[in-house]
């Protein structure tokens, strides 16, 4: 069983080395890839120093494209399972290992680490979402649950584990603008087993959230349009594995 852990990073020089160290500690057998999304700072250098392989996009392409790079890399290089986590230190690697265990035990194709899942409240004592984030979360939670007829609590979580079926799908179809939500909708529509697991998350150690109130409103609006359109997307033929 070969496992890849990849970390999309955009200007995260302050926290990337620490995150890599954390992954090394809890997932010593996994290969590590940092997808540097056109960072202007020393993210790539820090990641290399910390011992990760670095795939540098020549210019900033957005989170979706960075994540897709990771899935494509995992698919091309024959990994059986892959996982990704944020580069800002919010996601403890210990929790990522739990997600990966679900995938390697073949209990699910795609596992999402949820901050809000029932039962996670007690676990995620360290994580305090902001007000605008809380509104966005509940709006997306409602509409994604409506669209997929499956209960989702943490739709924008960037901590996930996946098997080869998901790699094949996401390396072909992954929305560059609205990565997290549309990918869940797509996976469920394709008949993949998507599962949420309550996880503990931490306050960010570096960088700042991109969600200002105005941006949040726009983000929510865009998300709803994407979800609506996604409901009318044709199902993809299962790619050969």
């Amino acid at each position: 069983m070969r496992t890849l852990v990849f970390i999309p990073a955009w200007n995260e020089e302050a926290s990337i080395a620490e995150v890599i160290g954390d992954v090394r500690k809890y997932l010593p057998e996994a290969d590590l890839l940092v997808v540097d999304d056109g960072s202007a700072d020393a993210t790539a250098e820090r990641a290399r120093e910390a011992g990760a392989t670095v795939a540098s996009l020549p210019f900033n392409q957005g989170l979706g494209a960075a994540l897709q790079t990771g899935y494509l890399y995992a698919l091309r290089n024959g990994y059986d399972a892959c996982a990704h986590l944020d580069a800002d230190g919010q996601h403890p690697a210990e929790e990522v290992a739990r997600l990966l265990a679900e995938v390697t035990a073949d209990r699910a194709d795609l596992v999402i680490g949820s901050r809000y899942h029932a039962g996670a409240e007690a676990v995620s004592g360290d994580y305090r979402p902001t007000f605008s984030r809380r509104i966005g979360t509940s709006v997306f939670r409602f509409f994604l649950t409506l669209a997929t007829r499956q209960r989702f609590t943490d739709t924008t979580s960037g901590m996930r584990a996946a098997n080869r079926r998901v790699m094949a799908l996401f390396s072909q179809h992954y929305s560059p603008d609205f990565a997290e939500i549309e990918s869940l909708q797509l996976a469920v529509r394709q008949g993949l087993r998507v599962e949420e697991l309550p996880v503990r998350m931490l306050e960010r150690t570096g960088g700042s959230s991109f969600l200002t109130p105005l941006r949040s409103a726009f983000f929510i609006f865009k998300g709803l349009v994407v979800l609506l359109v996604g409901q009318f997307r044709p199902r993809q033929a299962e790619p050969e594995r």
Binding site: R2, T3, L4, P28, E29, A30, D31, L33, V35, D36, T53, V54, A55, S56, L57, P58, F59, Q61, A65, Q68, T69, L72, Y73, R76, N77, G78, Y79, P176
Partner: protein, 150 residues
């Protein structure tokens, strides 16, 4: 402009011959400009077809005003000029949409190109690193058949 049905007895407003001449001249110059852009490799042929059709349409409208009047009547517009404006506006809308589609496709292509390059560079770097320190990491390089075809 009112979209009321034509009042009985009111005359239809036609294109004046001056308008027709101006339109024809513009259409001819427009098509010459497109030809010149293609000739100097500033415009690819596949994107020029739509513009050429637009130019021909303009010329047809100027040469055969009866066509335009038919359209105006079908639209319920008394003034042929208004019909002309509406058609041009719709045409431009269609062209703008066409460009958005082309742009989206190119954006997706650029993204994939960037991803492929990033992955290739990462693999090359990893391989040279492994060759350098000799001992290799836990997950040694195993290229899939599909990888070699690239």
């Amino acid at each position: 402009m009112s979209a009321l049905p034509l009042a009985a007895g009111e005359a239809q407003v036609h294109l004046t011959s001056q308008t027709r001449i101006v339109a024809a001249v513009i259409a001819v110059f427009f098509m010459l400009l497109i030809l010149d852009l293609i000739r100097r490799d500033r415009l690819q042929e596949r994107y020029s077809v739509i513009w050429f059709v637009a130019g021909l349409g303009m010329l047809a409208g100027a040469a055969f005003p009866g066509l335009l009047e038919l359209v105006a009547e079908a639209m319920g517009v008394r003034n042929t000029n208004v019909a002309l404006f509406s058609i041009v506006l719709l045409l431009l809308l269609g062209l703008a949409l066409n460009f958005s589609v082309i742009m989206s496709r190119q954006a997706a292509q650029i993204t994939r190109l960037a991803q492929e390059r990033a992955i290739e560079k990462a693999l090359a770097e990893k391989q040279s690193g492994e060759a350098g320190n000799g001992n290799g990491s836990a997950g040694e390089q195993r290229l899939e058949p599909e990888e070699k075809r690239l």
